[in-house]
């Protein structure tokens, strides 16, 4: 088995035992990148040289017994995290040349845990999309079938982990942008509670929904990296000063007697039959592990997508106002006056989906429409949150499909934004409610495409989520296939 195929915990054990070096892991990963990146196109920017230097440094520390929990482990960052001195594009032409003078808090934390950065991964522009096709730098391909999309918006990170182009990766999830691509690529992806991981240095899409999380090959790796990235940050006002438990301590515990909520509203027309079958099977697995499945109701589920597509674009229309060509990033040449400079810069700098959402959001916040759209959406959002509060009185975790379908073909939904938006129908609610969610592989379609099951828990119950996911993973015994690239 190649080193790039291993997990963080497997590699860490071997690193600490002195069987391998970090430099060897990094070489293995970059060798893999050289072999498959032309097909997958997971990265926007590779950080080969600094990765080799970081690997050497990590090797030194491991020898001295000082290495952090991720010492020498090659990880990839979605190109939405600001990285000091390394171009950060957010998948957009408007930031094509932007080099931040600071690291995101998450990047700082990973750095001090000893992680080695392989590069910046591809994404839908400003995280707006569910297929990674909305990137200025071209689409990323699903390693299981390069004619298909990897999901999005963090498609590059999901594909990179799946293809062995890194050991773990990080993304952001505003409406499902971690969980949905994790599901479509067959890896573990977690969106923590809003406020659990600092957003400082994460380029904002929708500030009240954005949350950072990991892509890993198994649940144990997810717990390992969550231990590193979770925690209060005084630079972020919405981060919560709540103690971080040792997430690894939740692994391997059983879920006997747990009540697993199955929301009846999540088994809808339009859900792929193979996906539904896989989820029904997953329910039987948790029952087999000693949990009890209970039907629950989340009565405002129908409104989630509508609420999301008011709140998220509204916040985005404001968050993206700073890209005006004045201070940094792309500026269109030759303008007669200020207004023309703004118009030309933003017309040429943003892609179609970003412009669509800026317009929707601007409209929703406009005087005369605010009450009907933004205010109403905020009110309904409160109801959605209450649905979950009520539901968690009757269950420990909730189990749902992650995505209604497996990976679809490139170009299949690019002309139909509404169809594309429905990819996130099961994931959006967690963002609106601010609760944590995790997607874990739960099988394959007959065509060999991965399917994911989602677990949801109450605020700051990541431990419980990991316990459920780990128990499920253990009992489901999903066969470990690898994409044939």
């Amino acid at each position: 088995m190649e080193l790039y195929e291993l997990t963080i915990h497997e590699l860490s054990d071997r690193l600490r035992a002195g069987e391998i070096t970090s430099a060897e892991i990094v070489s293995s990963v970059f060798g893999r990148i050289d072999a498959v990146e032309k097909d997958v196109r997971a990265y926007i920017t590779l950080m080969r040289e600094t990765a080799l230097a970081e690997a050497a440094e990590a090797g030194e520390k491991i020898r001295k017994g000082e290495g952090g929990p991720l010492a020498g482990i090659p990880v990839a960052l979605k190109d939405i995290f600001c990285t000091k001195g390394v171009r950060t594009t957010c998948g957009s032409r408007i930031l094509e040349n932007f080099i931040p003078p600071y690291d995101a808090t998450v990047v700082e934390k990973l750095r001090s845990a000893g992680a080695v950065f392989t590069g910046k991964t591809n994404m839908d522009e400003f995280a707006m999309g569910s297929s990674t096709e909305n990137s200025f730098f071209g689409a990323t391909r699903n390693p299981w079938d390069i004619e298909r999309i990897p999901g999005g918006s963090s498609g590059g990170s999901a594909a990179a982990v799946t293809a062995g182009e890194c050991i773990a990766a990080f993304g952001s999830d505003t409406g499902g942008s971690i969980r949905q691509p994790a599901s479509l690529c067959g890896v573990v992806g977690m969106k923590p509670t809003y406020g659990r991981v600092s957003r400082y240095g994460l380029i904002a899409f929708a500030s009240s929904l954005d949350q950072i999380g990991p892509f890993t090959k198994d649940v144990e790796d997810c717990a390992i990296v969550m231990n590193v990235i979770a925690g209060y940050d005084p630079r972020e006002s919405t981060s919560v000063p709540q103690e971080v438990p040792d997430y690894r301590s939740f692994l391997g515990r059983d879920i006997k007697g747990w009540r697993v909520g199955i929301p009846k509203e999540y088994f809808i027309d339009g859900i792929d039959p193979e996906v539904e079958a896989a989820i029904r099977k997953a329910i039987r697995v948790v029952e087999g592990a000693g949990a009890k499945s209970v039907e629950i109701s989340l009565p405002h589920t129908d409104y989630c997508v509508a609420v999301y597509y008011i709140v998220a674009p509204a916040e985005a229309s404001s968050n993206l106002a700073r890209y005006d060509g004045v201070k940094y990033g792309f500026r269109a040449g030759e303008a007669r006056d200020l207004l023309e400079m703004y118009k030309k810069t933003r017309s040429a700098g943003f892609g179609a989906e970003v412009k669509r959402r800026i317009m929707i959001g601007t409209y929703a916040l406009s005087s005369g429409y605010y009450d009907a759209y933004y205010r109403k959406a905020s009110q309904v959002r409160g109801l959605i949150k209450r649905d979950f509060d009520e539901a968690f009185k009757n269950c420990d975790v909730i189990l749902t499909p992650t995505s209604p379908t497996p990976a679809f073909r490139l170009g299949e939904r690019t002309d139909d934004p509404l169809q594309m938006y429905l990819s996130d129908i099961f994931t959006i609610s967690a963002n609106l409610a601010g609760i944590p969610g995790i997607s874990v592989p739960c099988g394959y379609t007959t065509g060999g495409l991965p399917i994911g099951v989602q677990f949801l828990a109450g605020h700051f119950q990541e431990g419980r989520l990991l316990q459920a996911a780990s128990a499920y993973e253990k009992h489901a015994r999903i066969d470990k296939r690898r994409p044939s690239l």
């Binding site: 600071y102 240095g201 630079r235 229309s317 005006d324 201070k327 601007t362 406009s366």
Partner: protein, 478 residues
């Protein structure tokens, strides 16, 4: 028809906190361009605001000083518009949920008092500054000012004339400076004012269409602009026209207002709650700790001066114009025990010296203790009032204590009655003609003898003593 002006004012005051409102950069004015500007100030991708709690405290001081009701929870909102001095494309302000409402202040007008309502006070960040190169078609932006904390103080439409507006503004200004939360410098823009003006037929209730006035950077300009605008609107109405709802700029040089943008071009700021900031909770403990730091306010102090020091209201007004000046005066009263004389000296010589050099009381080289010594020396008769003027000038120039100046200049008053009697006897003997005139009833000649006596003593004689002796001796009493 008689028209009545209806005016409401919006004041923006820059707060004197060390740091900016949402980052750790210095909020100080006057640094080299873009040296007080971090990624947060620059609105770089991914950076986030963190509220400086000092700003809340400064806002609370003003809110308490203006009798506002404090809302225990308030939140921030984004005001969205594009401009190169606004790096994020929105200003963080407060909108639906302000921290302070329903306040008032009292202004004095033609001897009477009037209460003017304050609708609300809220916190927000300042924008940067554009610098236009006059030789080249380029503009530069200085983002030092971006994120400097402001409070906006919005009045009720209670103001009924330009003079009243100026009185209201002066009172607000004085209060802010007294609270030491704003330096009040209008030229540097730390105290800015916009006005909403409309006219309505006298005696009616409904408001007329209003114009918003901007760009008035002194009290005088606010008054002039309002006077102009009231006249302009009256002219429009009397001519049968309609006042347009618009924003107008005051042109200081031309002395007129002109239209900047109409209602159609008005911005839609698309306010919405800022998701990057959490609501601010103001609990009792916090509010009480701020309340404890409040100084005596100018109006209360003025009334106390009149009551306790028995000085005229006008003098009390001058002496309380700034907190430092009032402190200076009170220190002088404490040391000299002479409120009236203290007031005369401060309002007379001290302020005259300072005004000549356009300096504030903080820069006064005469310490209250020295001035108290001088008053004591006059009271004791050691020097005459005339001498004291000379001494005080020297004190101001050199900062030396009065005793030192008096001895250096040999200014001590001659109070030796024997020596003065002898000298006066000589003067009388030398001027028999004048003596005769005096005794014949020509009392004006008395002045001549005083002059002679002062001349003989080079002005050092105690004038009261000279008077007494002369009266006695000219009358022939022995």
């Amino acid at each position: 028809m008689e028209y009545e002006p209806v005016i409401g004012l919006e004041v923006h005051a820059q707060l004197l906190t060390e740091a900016k409102i949402f980052c750790g950069c210095s909020a100080k004015f006057g640094a080299a361009p873009n040296t007080h500007a971090c990624p947060v100030c620059l609105g770089m991708p991914g950076v986030l605001p963190v509220l400086n709690r000092k700003v809340v405290e400064f806002m609370l001081k003003m809110a308490l000083a203006t009798n506002c009701r404090i809302n225990r929870v308030c939140s921030f909102a984004r005001k969205n518009y594009f401009y190169p001095d606004l790096p994020k494309g929105y200003q963080i302000s407060q909108y639906a949920s302000p921290p302070a409402e329903h306040g008032w202040i009292e202004v004095e007008l033609n001897g009477g008092k009037k209460r003017i309502g304050i609708t609300r006070i809220h916190m927000e960040e300042d924008a940067g500054k554009l610098l236009h190169d006059e030789r080249n078609p380029v503009s530069h932006v200085d983002l030092n000012r971006t994120g400097v904390p402001l409070i906006e103080i919005v009045s009720e439409p209670d103001i009924r004339g330009a003079e009243e507006a100026a009185a209201y503004l002066r009172r607000l200004h004085e209060t802010l400076v007294y609270l030491e939360i704003c330096d009040g410098n209008m030229e540097e823009g730390s105290f800015r004012c916009d006005a909403n003006v409309s006219l309505r037929p006298a005696g009616t209730e409904a408001f007329g269409t209003r114009a918003e006035l901007k760009n008035m950077n002194s009290f005088r300009n606010v008054q002039r602009a309002l006077e102009y605008e009231i006249k302009r609107q009256r002219y429009v109405l009397e001519g049968g026209g309609k006042v347009a709802q618009e924003t107008r700029l005051w042109d200081d040089t031309a002395g007129v207002t002109h239209s900047m943008r109409g209602k159609e071009e008005a911005h839609d700021y698309r306010y919405f709650p800022d998701p990057d900031l959490v609501p601010v909770v103001i609990d009792d403990a916090w509010l009480d700790s701020v309340r404890k730091t409040l100084p005596e306010l100018p109006l209360e102090r003025r009334e106390r001066f009149v009551r306790d020091y028995k000085i005229p209201a006008y003098d009390a007004g001058v002496l309380t114009a700034s907190r430092e000046l009032a402190d200076y005066y009170e220190e002088l009263v404490r040391l000299s025990g002479e409120p009236k004389l203290a007031s005369n000296w401060v309002m007379g010589d001290v302020l005259r010296f300072l005004n000549e050099e356009k300096k504030g009381i903080g820069a006064c080289p005469i310490a209250p203790a020295s001035l108290a010594d001088l008053i004591r020396l006059i009271q004791a008769g050691t020097i005459s009032g005339k001498m004291a003027k000379e001494v005080s000038e020297e004190m101001y120039r050199t900062g030396k204590p009065p005793e030192k100046i008096i001895s250096e200049k040999g200014l001590v008053q001659i109070t030796d009655e024997g020596a003065l009697t002898e000298m006066i006897a000589e003067i009388i003997a030398e001027n028999p003609a004048q003596l005769a005139q005096y005794r014949a009833g020509k009392e004006k000649v008395f002045g001549f003898f005083v002059g002679q006596a002062m001349k003989a003593t080079q002005g050092k004689a105690n004038p009261q003593l000279i008077n007494d002796l002369l009266k006695k001796m000219l009358a022939g009493d022995k």
